[in-house]
Amino acid sequence: MGFDVKNIEDKPEIAIVYLKGRLDVHYSSEVETQINKLISEGKKKLVISLNDVEYLSSSGLRIFIAISRTLKEVNGQLKLIKLNETARKIFKIVELIDMFDIYESEEEAINSFM
């Protein structure tokens, strides 16, 4: 399990979060706590990379819904990047794929922030 954050020098509101490992109930609650901490520190524009997420459960889906709602309350935005085939399949099945802004690269996601 891993949780790394990259900041962008001239864009203090943006943080890129790299998740790693199994996004099951165990790891999801930890991730949610860490991300809420980032939001409370003023990171209102979040890019979350799922590149190294080897497994995604409904607990993982739930935190993306929760984070999206929290960010909306503070006029923030959430972008997801690098979903693998299985993650995409799960997002599609629960009809969440169109509800999130999903990009292939960090650059695309960062440039899409308004």
Partner: protein
């Protein structure tokens, strides 16, 4: 038939996934089928940890995996509080994220990925344990 017994510690979700995944790989089940079964098993075990054992980490869980030429069956047993899935409303797959209920996604995914999902409850037909049995047909 393969069997594993463990406690309701969320860290054991990975142990369960490794156990089931390894056996199914050895049986040369296709990787996309394995992924679907692992997801359903994880969701079922998560429900046991969260609902049957209310996140207590010392509850007993037993998993039995049966692999046949035409189907894979997984039964997971627990001795916690009877969790009736019909008490959890299935998610409303609305277009609006704000109206999404947080619960029910796990059972929804279990039913999507497996062909049969049956719950047997403690206290019925002389049972002293809960069981969720999930079957995937291979054809």
């Amino acid at each position: 038939m393969d069997e594993i017994k463990l406690t309701s510690d969320p860290k054991n979700l990975k142990v369960i996934a490794d156990f089931v995944g390894k056996i199914l790989k050895k049986r040369k089940i296709k990787s996309d089928i394995i992924e679907e079964i692992l997801l359903a098993v994880d969701e079922a075990a998560t429900n046991i940890i969260k609902h049957s054992y209310q996140e207590k980490t010392d509850g007993n869980i037993k998993l039995i995996l049966e692999t046949g030429p035409d189907k894979i069956a997984v039964s997971i047993f627990d001795n916690g509080i009877t969790f009736r899935p019909e008490d959890v409303p299935l998610p409303v797959l609305s277009k609006d994220i704000d109206n999404r209920r947080p619960g029910g996604l796990g059972i929804f995914l279990m039913k999507k990925f497996m062909d049969d999902v049956t719950f047997y409850f403690k206290g019925t037909s002389g049972r002293d344990f809960n069981e969720v049995r999930m079957v995937k047909y291979l054809n």
